[in-house]
């Protein structure tokens, strides 16, 4: 009669289907020719090809990092295809030209790209494997001078902006995966908010990996000019496959004086099956530069998918009085591994950062928080507050915390709080005694635990994130 807390099989991944479209795919393997071929397919200007080649050559000299608290078999970079695009997609085509099969795919994912059924107040850039298949609401945004388009389109239409900001926050030499991305990135989203404009709707990118054996390497660049502000949301799913797929994206954010960027992610890549077979390797570099005076960059992430997550959305607090925030919920179940956290680099005076991290581990999952707070010598009056909470469900999972604090300025204040709790039988029993099922109880307890993060998500997505969490943890209690 004693039902100890133990792992059962996870519920089916809802987005595991494959779309049948003809694709234009590069043969597997990576060499200089691959890089040139991608650049040529995208009809890129010379400066970009040069940049890619420099990145590629740099990458050849680098080693895959293994300092994170995750384990996986070696990745064979020659067995991956670095470009795959649905054949029917014409570059720069309007949404009317999009293959109906692709539109149906996004409908199934709950995202409508057609005029009539769009989520109101949200503009979407839909990325399918290596390319953007369409961006909604462009005309409406255009009236305000906001540029929101695929990266490929930005390269064609706004090369001066791309040239100015590309690599300005995450240089191609930053790390192994960032260098790889710089060499082979295929598409992504681009966004520029002009001076003084507050973007009136959520901008969002939806990433979908479809092809087998294809890596996804997209690049997102968001610039908020002086006094501008924008809220951006990223979502992602992938089919269920037995093999691991590599996703190595780069996101760069730039906020100038008095500008603010809020970037939210609900990450739901395929996590592999209950035995740890398959799933996405999510090795992502995300960084924002709060470059201007009183600028602000805020990351909110809800990480529920992927076999492995390696990701540290960071903020360089360069402008005086700038603010950096990181709100994170990372959930691992079954055999998932996550090593995630943030870096807050205080450079300007009176800069302020907040880190709220909630790690949830269930099944055999392994969850690590890794966070760096660095206060440089000139950062007078800098302040950081870090709160790092872990919750364990069951006895076979793990939670680890690796804080790195480096302070070179005496007038700054850095606070760190950490806690670990276990969802106890008593908590679950209490809920059951009030008529709730075990699943309902867990999702309730977990949502309560994550509340401070969820309340930073845009309204529409907070609910989605909460439901996602419930699904991810479904079956984690016996």
């Amino acid at each position: 009669m004693s039902t100890a807390i133990e792992t059962l099989v996870n519920r089916d991944y809802q987005y595991g289907f494959v779309t049948d479209v003809e694709a234009d795919t590069l043969p597997r393997g990576l060499n200089e020719e691959t890089v040139r071929a991608i650049s040529a397919k995208k009809r890129e200007p010379a400066f970009l090809l040069e940049w890619r080649l420099k990145a590629y050559r740099r990458w050849l000299t680098m080693k895959e990092p293994h300092w994170s608290n995750v384990t996986y078999p070696p990745i064979d970079y020659q067995s991956i295809s670095y470009y795959s695009a649905p054949k029917s997609t014409k570059p720069l085509g309007s949404l009317d030209d999009v293959d109906p099969e692709l539109l149906r795919t996004y409908e199934k994912l709950g995202i409508s790209l057609t005029e009539q059924k769009r989520i109101s107040g949200v503009a979407v850039d839909a990325i399918f494997d290596s390319v953007s298949v369409g961006t909604t609401m462009k005309a409406e945004l255009g009236e305000l001078g906001i540029i929101f388009c695929s990266f490929g389109e930005a390269v064609q239409e706004h090369p001066e902006l791309v040239r100015k900001y590309l690599g300005s926050v995450v240089p191609y030499s930053d790390n192994f995966f960032a260098a790889l991305n710089a060499a082979v990135f295929s598409d992504g989203s681009f966004c520029y908010i002009p001076k003084g404009v507050k973007c009136p709707m959520e901008l969002s990118t939806y990433f979908r990996i479809n092809s087998a054996d294809t890596g996804q390497f997209e690049r997102t660049l968001i610039i908020a000019d002086e006094g501008a502000s924008v809220s951006y949301l990223e979502g992602c799913t992938a089919p269920r496959r037995d093999t691991n797929q590599l996703h190595a994206a780069v996101v760069e954010l730039v906020a100038l004086d008095h500008a603010s960027i809020k970037y939210s992610t609900v990450q739901n890549w395929y996590a592999g099956d209950a035995n740890g077979k398959g799933g996405i390797y999510n090795f992502v570099t995300k960084r924002g530069k709060a470059a201007g005076v009183r600028s602000k960059i805020s990351w909110t992430q809800v990480e529920t998918g992927s076999a492995i997550t390696w990701k540290y959305p960071s903020v360089i607090l360069q402008g005086d009085y700038s603010t950096g925030e990181f709100y994170s919920v990372a959930v691992v179940n079954n055999h998932q591994q996550a090593d995630t956290g943030t870096k807050m680099i205080h450079i300007g005076r009176d800069t302020k950062s907040t880190i709220i991290s909630k790690g949830i581990s269930a099944g055999h999952g392994n969850n690590s928080y890794r966070g760096q707070v660095k206060v440089l010598r000139k950062a007078e009056g800098a302040r950081n507050y870090t709160q790092c909470d872990s919750m364990l469900i069951g006895n076979q999972c793990g939670a680890h915390t690796f804080p790195y604090i480096e302070v070179d300025n005496n007038s700054s204040v850095v606070e760190h709080e950490a806690s670990t709790s276990k969802i106890g039988e008593d908590q679950i029993f209490y809920c059951k005694q009030r008529g709730l099922s075990a699943e309902h109880a867990i999702s309730l307890i977990v949502s309560g635990f994550c509340k401070e993060v969820f309340q930073n998500l845009p309204m529409e997505f907070a609910l989605e994130a909460q439901q996602l969490l419930g699904i991810t943890l479904e079956g984690s209690v016996g």
Partner: protein, 257 residues
């Protein structure tokens, strides 16, 4: 409504309940008293289905159904409510949300639709008055950072909202001052109906001045060593438990009701 026959239960290798028999009929209030460690909370938890306890013998029938075969949430959905001696904290989940989730879950089990949020607000408003609680309690996280007394009151609020058929109050009176005690008792009394029943577990006679029981049972060493009318509580108040504990012959299974 509830019939317990020769119930044995414990944890690991240790037997805590050593043969309890008890019958509770609709409309009745039973008090269970006894010294610390005698097994009162264990009995309450076993009836509610806490997984830490193993039932090793005997039976419990609720409305003709084998109670012990039901998972805890079904027992709750069928109207069994336990006011915990040590209510559990659920940080980040508001009382309001928790109450509504529980209320709707019980409705769902009966094939009913979820209650309209406005109607629910009215219901809660009325029940708050019954237990003399402030509306702002609803926006606080379930029991998180509550004082002992607030937690106990919160249990009674939940009971008042969920409207159980069989309520088991486990030392809801301990730690309450006399005013709070009156409030709790008033709540319990106003919820009494001919078709529901209450088991009041208490260490002190005090509460029974306000909630008048039909039967009083004394639990000692995992057995019911004496049962009687409401006067038994007064006698216990005057004489303590020792005379009963010492008088209880070893090996005798539960006294008659």
């Amino acid at each position: 409504m509830l019939e317990i026959i020769d119930l044995h239960a414990g944890i690991a290798d240790r037997e805590i309940l050593k043969g309890i028999s008890l019958t509770v009929r609709a409309g009745e209030v039973h008090a269970i008293m006894g010294p610390n460690g005698s097994g009162k909370s264990t009995l309450a938890q076993v009836l509610a289905g806490h997984p830490a306890y193993e039932v090793t013998g005997g039976s419990a029938t609720y409305d003709g159904e084998d109670l012990l075969a039901l998972p805890p949430e079904e027992r709750a959905q069928k109207g069994i409510f336990l006011a915990f001696q040590y209510p559990v904290e659920i940080p980040g989940v508001t009382n309001a949300y928790f109450l509504r989730a529980a209320y709707n879950e019980i409705r769902k089990s009966k094939g009913l639709d979820e209650i309209d949020p406005m109607d629910f607000a009215d219901l809660v408003e009325e029940r708050l008055r019954l237990v003399d609680m402030d509306r702002e309690m609803l926006q606080r996280a379930v029991n998180a950072g509550f004082s002992g007394g607030e937690k106990k009151r919160n249990e009674i609020l939940q009971m008042a909202v969920l409207g159980p058929r069989l309520a088991i109050l486990d030392e809801t009176d301990s730690g309450l001052d006399i005013d709070a005690l009156r409030v709790v008792a008033h709540g319990v009394n106003s919820l009494r109906r001919p078709d529901n029943a209450t088991i009041v577990v208490t260490h002190y006679q005090r509460l029974l001045n306000y909630i008048v029981p039909d039967r009083v049972h004394v639990l000692a060493g995992g057995r019911i060593v004496k049962s009687g009318g409401k006067d038994l509580a007064l006698e216990l108040e005057a004489r303590g438990y020792d005379w009963l504990v010492e008088a209880a012959p070893a090996g005798v299974a539960g006294a008659a009701v």
